[in-house]
Assembly symmetry: C2
Homo-oligomer: 226 residues x 2
Amino acid sequence: MKKAVVLVSGGLDSATTLALAKEQGYACYAISFDYGQRHRCELEAARQVAEMAGVVEHKLIRMDLNSIGGSALTDSSIDVPQQPAEGIPVTYVPARNTVFLSFALGWAEVLGAEVIFIGVNAVDYSGYPDCRPAYITAYEKMANLATRAGVEGSGIHIQTPLIHLSKAEIIQQGMRLGVDYASTVSCYNPDAEGLACGRCDACRLRAAGFEAAGVPDPTRYQAGAR
Amino acid sequence: MKKAVVLVSGGLDSATTLALAKEQGYACYAISFDYGQRHRCELEAARQVAEMAGVVEHKLIRMDLNSIGGSALTDSSIDVPQQPAEGIPVTYVPARNTVFLSFALGWAEVLGAEVIFIGVNAVDYSGYPDCRPAYITAYEKMANLATRAGVEGSGIHIQTPLIHLSKAEIIQQGMRLGVDYASTVSCYNPDAEGLACGRCDACRLRAAGFEAAGVPDPTRYQAGAR
């Protein structure tokens, strides 16, 4: 059975990506990151998502991105915006996907996995540069020059099954595959119980996706959030 | 004053790279990694090297590469070879430079630094794929697609001043700039006091470099190591 490393954040997109990787017949190895994010409750969601999908192994990597800062998600002195903004928003975490993919790349090499799945999306997204197709293509090229797997083996392929889908299409794929979206957390600014704020960019994109897909929104919101 | 992030491992190459970055007039921000390496005493060496060079800041990032393993440097069940081998050796750490550069990239963005210095070398080296010019070029291209600095700013440049130098030439550069090589640690398998084994690939390359440069080797070796 071919192996794949799948980045699982606990959000809607990565849960769908994991279901699509399974559908393609891969033995899935989930990897999540405790990087000092404001929305750490997503890690419990990631655990549930990985368990429900029956992954072979779920690895949690701890690292300190707070000490680098520069984002509303890793620096508590920067507020999460409640309105969409122009350009790359302050919730962008410098080099986050590059750091995440790099750990996934190391693990893929050790496992002998030829594929890394990441649920980036360049349609209904927050405008982060590291979610675009050109970035993924460049990452894959770099990865194959960086590693034993690329130089002596059969190479590493980065699969991004969601990259050209709308949020509604992503949700439709997940519904078809039985993803339990009630277990997922997308909010950047949840309360202590993990209830969603309903106002941040991630909440807005998610709620609009359920509405456009014609699927009841199972998100657990804070009182008065919407 | 222009800013540069400089990867400082505590070894001979990165100490020289830091001196060359200073010579170019950069305000230097050193970054080191506690990744569960066998040769953790290099971190004390990194601290000394950074302090002697007068860096603006020295950041130590902790992360767990042991849980990924796959290398003699991060898995204590794999011995460090005492003889050179064919191909990519077991001291290769999967995706290590990619992980390190990715943290440096995030910090460079936050600092507004346009340059990252890394002391990779493709002449007297262990054959690691992530030390070659093609890899660095691909990393830089990826980095400029990944980040706000690349998309909205003036870009990120990866400088590798040692990449085409022999170990002897590197040592000559460092001697010219007053680098104290006695403070640096290259050995992959030092003892508890940080004394070098004299037999691993890193020790062999280093000792041969001092000999070829005609410079007395200041390395502190274990008793009977050579």
